[in-house]
């Protein structure tokens, strides 16, 4: 595949994500309220370690190994977590609010999109977890696109956004099997595959993605990968602290993560134990590959610099003093635009 002209990217600083799901809800409100989209969360935030959404997606295959497409399997609706219906009417309008509790109608579920939230791993006082927000990675080598026999998936030349043409899609779901991140959803009403569109209608108007702009944690940077004036290039290419999730899946993602650094461990006497990190390195390597260790070293070095009173361009970038500067020029206020439904 020939590389396009430019590539839009996102960097997420996992040290700042508070798991509030504002991103998830802003995406939901904007894009997945139509028929057949109830269970879709194009943006998910899950606790790691944890099974994720869809459940155990990291064991579902797909992607490439040594450039060879790997067999994949389809997640079930239950793996994603079904859109439950609640007894809202009964609780709020039935006059029984003092007796009935809010509960899910029908069969009690045993899984949902954020079922294992805040469980994490490790034992007190050294338990650990962090939040991992995920969207479609708008990969440079999209497994979804390669898998489609209908050529219904395209990667835009001008910005690298990966989109599904719903007129060409026949609902075969080979893309869903092939995406190793399991970020494709099936709309059973429209009989088409759907996924994160990187908010392209906003991007085209100079407005950053909803998940990024609404994030109260200033977690998400947006912009062109090659814009050397903007944070993405600085974090990914210059400072090399932002790295893709599961690079071994072979799709070359364009969403990057600043890896998490947890507080120090506490030993049996209640003293700080800095002999090893709270989040085991092996665990982070299993998610981000070996380059995560280099990224952590750089982060730690820059953190200690600022502790010593020195300035650090990297720390200033990550703190994101100026909110608008996180968006690589896509900082227009959406309220200044008159939006029409196409």
């Amino acid at each position: 595949m020939t590389a396009g002209k430019r590539q839009l990217s996102m960097v997420l600083d996992l040290n700042k994500c508070i798991g509030c799901q504002t991103c998830t809800i802003s995406c939901k409100r904007l894009w997945t309220r139509g028929d057949g989209m109830d269970y879709m969360w194009w943006n998910t935030v899950n606790t790691k370690p944890g099974r994720g959404t869809p459940r155990d997606w990291e064991q579902m295959g797909g992607g490439f190994r040594d450039g060879v497409a790997q067999p994949g399997r389809l997640p079930t609706g239950r793996d994603f977590g079904e859109a439950w219906e609640f007894n809202h009417n009964e609780v709020f309008h039935g006059g029984k609010g003092d007796k009935v509790h809010l509960e899910i109608k029908g069969e009690k579920p045993d899984w949902g999109p954020n079922w294992d939230e805040d469980q994490g791993a490790g034992d007190y006082p050294n338990a650990y977890y962090f939040y991992l927000p995920r969207i479609c990675n708008h990969c440079t080598h999209p497994a979804c696109l390669d898998a489609c026999p209908r050529k219904a998936i395209m990667k835009r030349e001008e910005d690298g956004i990966v989109l599904i043409d719903e007129d060409r899609c026949r609902g075969y779901r080979f893309c869903m099997e092939a995406c190793p991140y399991k970020k494709i959803y099936f709309n059973h009403v429209a009989n088409v595959a759907q996924k994160c569109i990187f908010c392209f209608p906003r991007i085209e108007q100079g407005v950053a993605n909803a998940c990024a702009r609404q994030c109260p944690g200033r977690v998400r940077f947006v912009g062109y990968r090659d814009d050397e004036e903007a944070p993405i290039w600085k974090l990914v290419d210059k400072w090399k602290v932002a790295i893709p999730l599961h690079p071994e899946y072979g799709t070359d993602p364009n969403v990057f993560y600043v890896p998490p650094i947890a507080p120090p461990r506490i030993d049996a006497n209640g003293n700080l134990d800095e002999s090893k990190p709270r989040i085991p390195n092996e665990y982070l390597v299993s998610l981000f590959g070996p380059s995560v260790l280099d990224a952590l070293k750089i982060l730690e070095a820059e953190m200690s610099k600022t502790r010593g009173g020195e300035k650090s361009e990297l720390m200033d970038l990550l703190i994101a003093y100026k909110w608008k500067e996180m968006f690589g020029g896509f900082d227009r206020d959406p309220a200044t635009i008159e939006w029409t439904k196409g």
Partner: protein
């Protein structure tokens, strides 16, 4: 196989797989073979299906009847499960299709080639009464033509699908579809998808190269 001529039989009768007219037509018992994983159009599909069974339905009984204007095929096959709704992200729908060469040199196994199209009449268990009129010029190139040209009906009972797929012999279109007339000899092929086995697209049972189909005619009726 001969498409039995039943002049004066209405289309609703033809669409009823239990109508007595079907008993008068001869039967072609077809063997279906799974389209091999190696022939699937993308590496992801090839590698996902390599070593898996393709073509769950191996036998289909075919009959054909025409009334001088409309040609109908009745397909019958055993299928333990009726898959006629998209109940889950992993659910796929039972389906069947009749393929006809739209030009004399069209190859069935590849679903045609540029300039040598294959015309398909497609039935899907969740599209009640409907049918799709499709044209392909090679694997993965299938496109839907005019809606309404193909009609179909399907009944699942006691582990068996009985499906009728029908179209007018002649259709007005600029597309290179099969145009038929009584006394003509053409080819036909059959494909069946078993939804329970996640069969869809090129993952199907297929009858192979064209079978002969002769449309019966009444010599007296000829001018």
């Amino acid at each position: 196989m001969e498409a039995h001529l039943a002049s004066g039989t209405g289309v609703e009768q033809l669409l009823d797989p239990d109508d007595p007219v079907w008993a008068r037509a001869g039967e072609d018992p077809l063997q279906l073979i799974g389209t091999p994983a190696g022939l699937q159009p993308t590496a992801a599909i090839r590698n996902t299906w390599a070593g898996k069974k393709i073509g769950a339905v191996e036998r289909v009984q075919v009959r054909a009847v025409h009334n001088g204007e409309i040609l109908a095929f009745r397909l019958e096959w055993d299928d333990a499960t009726q898959n006629d709704s998209l109940t889950d992200t992993t659910a796929f729908i039972d389906a069947a299709a009749i393929a006809l060469p739209a030009s004399p040199d069209a190859v069935a196994a590849t679903m045609g080639a540029p300039g040598a199209a294959v015309n398909t009449w497609y039935w899907r268990a969740d599209e009640k009464d409907g049918g799709r009129h499709l044209l392909a010029e090679g694997l993965g190139t299938t496109r839907t033509l005019d809606s309404g040209a193909v009609r179909s009906s399907g009944v699942w009972k006691d582990g068996r699908w009985r499906v009728v797929i029908a179209r007018a012999l002649q259709v007005k279109t600029s597309e290179p579809v099969a145009q038929l007339e009584p006394d003509q000899v053409t080819g036909y092929a059959v494909a069946v998808w078993d939804g329970a086995q996640q069969e869809r697209a090129g993952i199907k049972g297929f009858s192979g190269e064209w079978r002969e189909l002769r449309l019966a005619f009444e010599p007296m009726a000829r001018k």
